[in-house]
């Protein structure tokens, strides 16, 4: 009976829904992703967020039902069950065992944890995208303040070109900073938690202004019932004891840029005179992390020249850092630094090596660390609203240049086509806002049949725009790496959960 229900569900999925204001067509889709890792079988039910560890027979059953059931009417009846049994008997499974697996699958389907559809989400996306071009009520909850369009390093892979964003060297004034805070408070509606990210160039080159802006915001947050969360991203060159103390008191997070091994770091992260910065920044970062203890990230970039990037992560761990992040470089395809399709098998293997090493360290208790992309909160992750909406650039998140102009996010700064207005007069370019507001997971045709969609939300609009000229496109290379990271991250989380349960049982 339950199995019949499942098969009905499978068969009705080819329903084309045209979403209000969204031109692309989507199917009401059941979606199952299966993969094997670390000797185990994983099944993800994409729409419900369900994660299952299954034995070989259940794995084969689920794949058979997914692959044969999706579009075939005949599977609506009992014959379907027989077809599954017939098929799987050829793989030397016993009939009674197959029937048992089918019953379990059917029970989970009934409970909404397997073969669930996405009809509600399509409607939700349509509702969220309903906006008029002159929409004034856009709620903004985060700003990226470009306090310094200048830098004391000259990293070849930097998208901001020496921190200037293809413009002049400029610093934000206190007045612009204060105005940006006022603008954010005014536009944030009833949102209480507001984020401000100090970015550049190198924000510590305008440190007095950073402190001034923080103090200004702290002085007025209570009267407006707001809670500011500040983040600072720095290359470390100008970190001092005073910077560390102030950040520890005021910044919710700090992001410290280190690429890993000395030679890897110094290949790109050099002064304008070409001198590597490793020896200057590492002692400062060590001190920073030691005194901070939590809520910091060591953030590195890997390129075509260090596809063995786990060595760089392990190097950071050796230095005593335990909150780590390592990002694939994004640069024009022709660049010698660019990652290529030929690099992919090596990179995939690297992500597996990383997850397994982390698991080993977790088990032994020897120098465990967190890798940012593997922090996946399966129990308390974001709701579906957030997963459909994506990063929020150009709607709830904007960047402010040193002279107070607004852009959809830091990656669009300097591109006049994306200029939104300024902190004095607010947003003026509603066409662009409209485009970003309507952009969601369900406005991106290529994301519709991607199993990673609710872990990714449709990716980075800027990367998509720079790789295919459309914020509703995708950056395909990034997608491949992203999905591999999610597979590894889920595996690691599941293993850690099982480990914790086993330890609890022992106690």
């Amino acid at each position: 009976m339950l199995l019949l229900l499942l098969l009905c569900k499978l068969a009705k999925n080819v329903k084309i829904i045209v979403v209000l204001n969204i031109t692309a067509e989507f199917w009401e889709l059941t979606m199952i992703h299966t993969y094997k890792l670390n000797g185990k079988n994983f099944v993800l039910d994409v729409n419900s967020g369900g994660v299952h560890l299954v034995d070989d027979l259940a794995y084969d059953c689920i794949e058979f039902l997914r692959d044969s059931g999706a579009k075939e009417e005949p599977l609506l009846n009992e014959a379907a069950r027989n077809a599954a049994i017939l098929q799987l008997e050829q793989k030397d499974y016993k009939k009674s065992e197959i029937a048992e697996a089918l019953d379990e699958i059917a029970a989970l389907t009934e409970a909404g944890k397997l073969f669930s559809g996405d009809e509600e989400y399509v409607k939700l996306a349509a509702k969220k995208s309903q906006t008029t071009p002159q929409e004034q009520k856009n709620v903004i909850k985060a700003l990226c303040l470009h306090v310094a369009h200048t830098c004391n390093l000259d990293c070849e892979y930097c998208f901001a070109r020496g921190g200037t964003y293809h413009g002049k060297h400029t610093l934000m004034s206190r007045e612009v900073g204060e105005k940006a805070i006022d603008f954010l408070i005014e536009k944030s509606g009833s949102r209480r938690n507001l984020e401000v990210d100090f970015f550049g160039g190198e924000p510590l080159m305008n440190w007095e202004t950073v402190k001034h802006i923080v103090n200004y915001a702290r002085n007025i947050e209570e009267q407006h019932n707001k809670n500011f969360r500040f983040t600072l991203t720095t290359n470390g060159m100008l970190v001092t004891d005073e910077v560390i103390d102030f950040c520890n008191a005021q910044m919710a997070n700090v992001v410290l840029s280190l690429d890993g091994r000395p030679a890897v770091h110094d290949r790109f992260r050099v002064t304008p005179g070409g001198v590597g910065s490793y020896d200057v920044v590492v002692p400062k970062f060590v001190e920073f992390a030691k005194r901070r203890k939590k809520n910091y990230y060591m953030r590195g970039t890997y390129t075509h020249f260090n596809t063995d990037f786990t060595e760089d992560i392990f190097h950071m761990a050796e230095l005593g850092f335990d909150e780590l992040s390592m990002e694939p470089v994004v640069c024009p395809p022709g660049s010698p630094n660019a990652l290529t399709d030929d690099d992919l098998p090596v990179l995939f293997e690297q992500y597996e090596i990383l997850a397994l090493e982390m698991l080993k360290r977790e088990k032994t208790g020897s120098k465990p660390f967190n890798f940012y992309h593997y922090n996946i909160d399966l129990k308390n992750g974001p709701c579906i609203h957030k997963r459909i909406l994506g990063c929020g650039s150009g709607s709830e998140y904007m960047a402010v240049t040193p002279t107070g102009e607004l852009y959809p996010c830091h990656q669009f700064v300097g591109d006049k086509d994306f200029a939104l207005g300024d902190v004095w007069n607010g947003v003026k370019n509603f066409d662009i806002i409209d485009k970003f507001k309507k952009s969601s997971l369900y406005s991106k045709p290529q994301c519709g049949d991607c199993w990673g969609k609710f872990y990714c939300s449709g990716g980075c609009a800027a990367n998509a725009y720079h790789s295919c000229g459309d914020i509703n496109g995708i950056y395909e290379f990034g997608c491949k790496l992203f999905k591999k990271r999610i597979e590894c991250g889920i595996m690691l989380n599941v293993e850690k959960t099982l480990l914790a349960e086993a330890r609890n049982e022992q106690i």
Binding site: C158, L378, G381, C383
Partner: protein, 49 residues
Amino acid sequence: MSRITTIETRDLKQSCTSGGCGECQTSCQSACKTSCGIANQPCEGKTEE
């Protein structure tokens, strides 16, 4: 269940009605920032379902 172990996860379907408070962190995936993907952040509302 003897063949399938289901891991405890947030039910995304239920979060249609229980979620949407908007208090959560923005989630820039850009490599040059905190690179916070959606999957990497917690729910601020700590919604009980």
